[in-house]
């Protein structure tokens, strides 16, 4: 047991703790940005399905277009910060190529 604790202590040296905090903050930032995008995306899905059967609902169309604008802003900000969301020309990429980087949304 002692040996186990000792190994643990070495792992908690201050330097890795600071790096750990940075990772955790980055992870939390990624999750909150992603969730913000998911909130708007879900509303867009709901409105799309609704508008398929209610093409004359002007208010819903206005809400839909507002959300599309907001979604485009959120996605652009997300991609600048965390890398491309889509592929095959639907998103930019920095150098070096970012598409293969982790984390993928389902890993987070």
């Amino acid at each position: 047991m002692a040996e186990h604790n000792e190994r643990e202590e070495r792992a908690d040296s201050p330097k890795s703790k600071r790096a750990e905090n940075a990772d955790r903050n980055e992870h939390m930032a990624y999750c909150s940005d992603l969730e913000e995008l998911q909130v708007v995306d879900f509303a867009l899905v709901e409105l799309t399905l609704y508008l398929d059967t209610h093409p004359m609902d002007m208010q819903a169309v206005q809400q839909f277009n507002q959300l599309v604008q907001r979604r485009q802003r959120l996605a652009a900000a997300f991609e600048m910060k965390h890398g491309p969301l889509l592929q095959f020309g639907h998103s930019y990429s920095r150098f070096p190529w970012q598409w293969v980087d982790t984390p993928w949304p389902w890993q987070v």
Binding site: V39, F42, A43, E46, T53
Partner: protein, 77 residues
């Protein structure tokens, strides 16, 4: 029932049943069964909540809570 969407029915229990009888069966009839055509301008959830609840409109919200807690007894009690 705590939630108006729940209904129950009592299956026939025969003395020859091999397994212990399930006396009450519970099922949900979601609100979309009662709305043939969704009216316009229904009230909406705030977007964050809509994501959590799974629908944009409270009128169509149908929580499928575990029956154990909803009825307080054993499921299929």
């Amino acid at each position: 029932m705590y939630d108006s969407q729940w209904r129950d029915w009592k299956p026939y229990v025969s003395p020859n049943d091999p397994c212990p009888p399930i006396r009450v069966k519970w099922y949900i009839v979601p609100p979309n069964q009662f709305i043939p055509y969704q009216p316009m301008n229904l009230p909406q959830f705030p977007l964050e909540e809509a994501l959590r609840r799974g629908t944009l409109w409270p009128a169509l919200y149908s929580p499928f809570t575990s029956r154990r807690s909803v009825k307080g007894g054993k499921p299929n009690g």
